[in-house]
């Protein structure tokens, strides 16, 4: 389907972001000259500060996959992976990444990505991560793999035993492998200093996300959240640039807030906020703009989302702590959204509905992501009962365009918005 697309508004922060990302990819494409070592790792439970403290460069296969989705490359990558035996049923991020690698590993900016010097398997919140890197370990024979097993918050809390287990793994498995690959000695002080920056960026990020509690919200905490508010966090957390970026972004958003402006979207600024939603589940990337536009056209703003919390639920109070760097890396990994148990997820989402004054709750269920999708229908029932708000359910996939049906999603959303509209009318009468 073709949509008329207008020129996207670019704020200063967006330009800073663009520069930072293109520099990172440039650095990555130059590693054969600079000799910098490259670490492939995951977004949830990422050890960005630790990687950077060794002067290594992180590559996040999930981000490559989503970028491939946005650039319409994922369909062919997925097909490549299916040709070598990956089932149609499994996580499409994995297939997209492996397909990209089989196709010459050309990254989102068109430059070839260097192969990994270290595979850092931060096994946090998703079982598939382990399978993914077991596969990569075979595709990159000889590349060391550092496994960091993050225990699940089974009991809805993080225990001292679990922290000890993780710190031990960091000391005995992860750091020695990083020292070996980078040829540098671990510098705790350097790591610790980075964490001061991390905490500062985290404060700013929370401030930004919480502006959505206002009416109208100056941000979209799902689409914009994953598009330009959150991603910088993963690759640059702990750096001065990240603090600079989030300071700028926060200034812009505070200004929008004081002017009573709505969020910026690719279609322009949202002039009238009609509905406020909390969304659970990842977005679809292959038709991201079209998908976002459906909400824009309906005047719907996402005021809080769970997907922006896969890289850390900072609004619950966690901050990287320079006084206990390894312990705080451990707590960080265990605190990520997908590492939370279902009752915790329900409580968090219910709080979002309340605190962000949402009119409804929507799930975008992803065909190939069990970590999110299994149990979502129960989450939906629980939120409906607890919060007495209309709930909606749509289905798509992350990067497999075969599972994005524009008309199905649009129809379902239209009925959902009608429901929200009716509820507004009823509530207005009752008041």
């Amino acid at each position: 389907m073709k949509t008329e697309q207008q020129e996207v508004i670019k704020e200063k922060s967006m330009l800073i972001q663009k520069d930072m990302l293109s520099n990172l990819f440039k650095e990555l494409s130059n590693t054969h000259q600079t000799g910098k070592k490259v670490v492939y790792t995951f977004v949830p439970g990422n050890l960005t500060e630790l990687i950077l403290a060794f002067d290594m460069l992180p590559v996040y296969p999930e981000i490559n996959a989503l970028q491939s989705g946005m650039r319409k490359k994922s369909a062919s990558y997925i097909r490549e992976a299916e040709k070598i035996g990956f089932s149609e049923d499994v996580c499409t991020y994995v297939k997209c990444d492996i397909g990209m690698m089989l196709n010459g590993n050309v990254g989102p900016t068109g430059e070839k990505l260097p192969p990994p010097d270290l595979l850092l398997l931060s096994y946090t919140g998703c079982f598939t991560f382990m399978k993914w890197f077991e596969n990569l370990a075979r595709l990159y024979p000889g590349v060391p793999v550092a496994m960091l097993h993050t225990p699940y918050q089974e009991d809805g809390c993080i225990t001292q035993d679990q922290i000890d287990y993780m710190v031990k793994q960091l000391k005995e498995e992860v750091i020695p492998k990083m020292e070996m690959v980078s040829g540098k000695k671990f510098d705790m002080e350097r790591l610790s200093k980075m964490m001061i920056n991390s905490a500062e960026s985290e404060d700013l990020l929370v401030k930004i996300l919480e502006t959505a509690k206002n009416k109208p919200s100056p941000i979209d905490a799902y689409f914009a959240g994953v598009y330009y508010i959150g991603p910088m966090f993963t690759a640059f957390r702990g750096t001065d640039e990240a603090v600079g970026y989030y300071t700028e972004l926060n200034n812009e958003i505070q200004e929008r807030l004081s002017l009573g402006l709505g969020p910026i979207t690719p279609e322009g600024e949202l002039k009238e906020e009609k509905f406020r939603l909390v969304v659970e589940g990842p977005p679809n990337w292959t038709n991201f703009r079209e998908f976002w536009k459906i909400f824009y056209d309906m005047g719907a703003v996402i005021v809080a989302s769970s997907y922006t919390k896969v890289g850390g639920v900072y609004d619950l109070g966690f901050r990287h702590d320079y006084r206990e760097p390894l312990e705080s890396l451990s707590k960080y990994c265990m605190g990520c959204y997908t590492n939370m148990n279902l009752p915790q997820r329900v409580n968090l989402l219910a709080d979002y509905v309340k605190d962000y004054r949402a009119d409804g709750f929507l799930i975008n269920s992803i065909k190939s992501c069990n970590s999110f999708s299994a149990g979502q229908l129960m989450i939906m029932r629980e939120i409906e009962q607890k919060m007495e708000v209309p709930v909606g359910f749509i289905e798509s996939d992350l990067v497999d365009p075969r599972y994005f049906s524009y008309s199905n999603i649009k129809n379902r959303l239209e009925s959902f918005f009608q429901m929200l509209e009716q509820r507004k009318v009823i509530m207005a009468h009752e008041n």
Binding site: C126, H149, E154, Y165, L342, N370, S373
Partner: protein
Amino acid sequence: MNNLSDILDFCKDLAFDLHFKKAKKWKSSYEDRILVGYFPIYFPREIIHAVNGMPVGIMGTGDRKQIIKGDAYYQSYICHLPRGVIEMALDDNLNDFDGFIFPSICDCIRNLSGMFKLAEKGKFQRYFDYPQNFDKATGGLFYRNEMEKIIDDMYKINKIKLTPENLNNSIKLYNTNRRLIEEIYNIRQEFPWRLSAVDTYHVIRAGLSMPVEEHNLIIEEVISHISEDIGEQMDNIRVVISGSFCEQPPVGLIKSIEMAGCYIVDDDFMLGSRWIQGDVRDDTADPLGELVNSYLTQSPISSAVYDVDNPKGKRLVDLAQRRNADGIIFSAASFCDPALLDRPELQKECDNSGIAYITFQYHENTGQFKMIKEQAGTFSDSIKLWV
């Protein structure tokens, strides 16, 4: 001694008693007894047995229960097992269970543990995380803590303390159980016609919901029967089945494979009952430590275990060679990420070692086996032609 067909009938009924009547009766006949349900794949059942509990393996509903409510809890692109389990939980099938354990195998099982928590089913519901670090002082300690949490949960219910004597005794019984099951596989390796794959399946699965002492006696009897020269040899090929460790294939599928000309000489259907390779030491002052060691060093090929230092492809090829198999059938539940994400690598290892294989997917309630039968038949014929 009982006659073989009576034993097999008994096991067949028990294997698919989705009301777990025998286990519930066992519990109700004495105070302090507890029933703890566990899901695939493996759980160290010894720690339940040692505190007067019965571990009951819940392997899904198969094709034996109509799913009505369960479908409202799961999208169509999630495997079938959890929807059957939820159906059982919402009906009365799982009443009288004291607790439930969800061993770490995938995010479906992990999130199912949260659904049981939300539904407050049982007195405890635990996701049981396995270490993916195999160092004794690191992963071993973590695993011990995980077990202790469950020991504590059970203590809160019946106030029975775990003692080294009791645990050693339980370990002894489960060692016997594993040895006897292995014995069946060893006999079947040479004489697969003496006990069909389906009967073998029923005998082992029945053990998931009866006292281990009784199961040991049953297997001993089965072994004495099949140690005799019974049954009739067919001109079948010999295959190993891989990928069916969690959601179980319907019995009709197992039967179809054999009828199509493939003797199943090894499989991972009831992998949890065969998990520990060899015995666990049962004569030490720290039996819990022995269970830890056995997990760290004696686990089988499994999609649930991080394997970069011990690749499962090679281990599968070894198994096929050890069992003298002609080929491998990769048979996995649809939408089963752990099994399906391992498959390309396992296939590659087979290619490298010249082992023939075929692949298919199923649901536990698949009712049509025509295609699978044809595929397995063609596989068998092609191997016979070339070997």
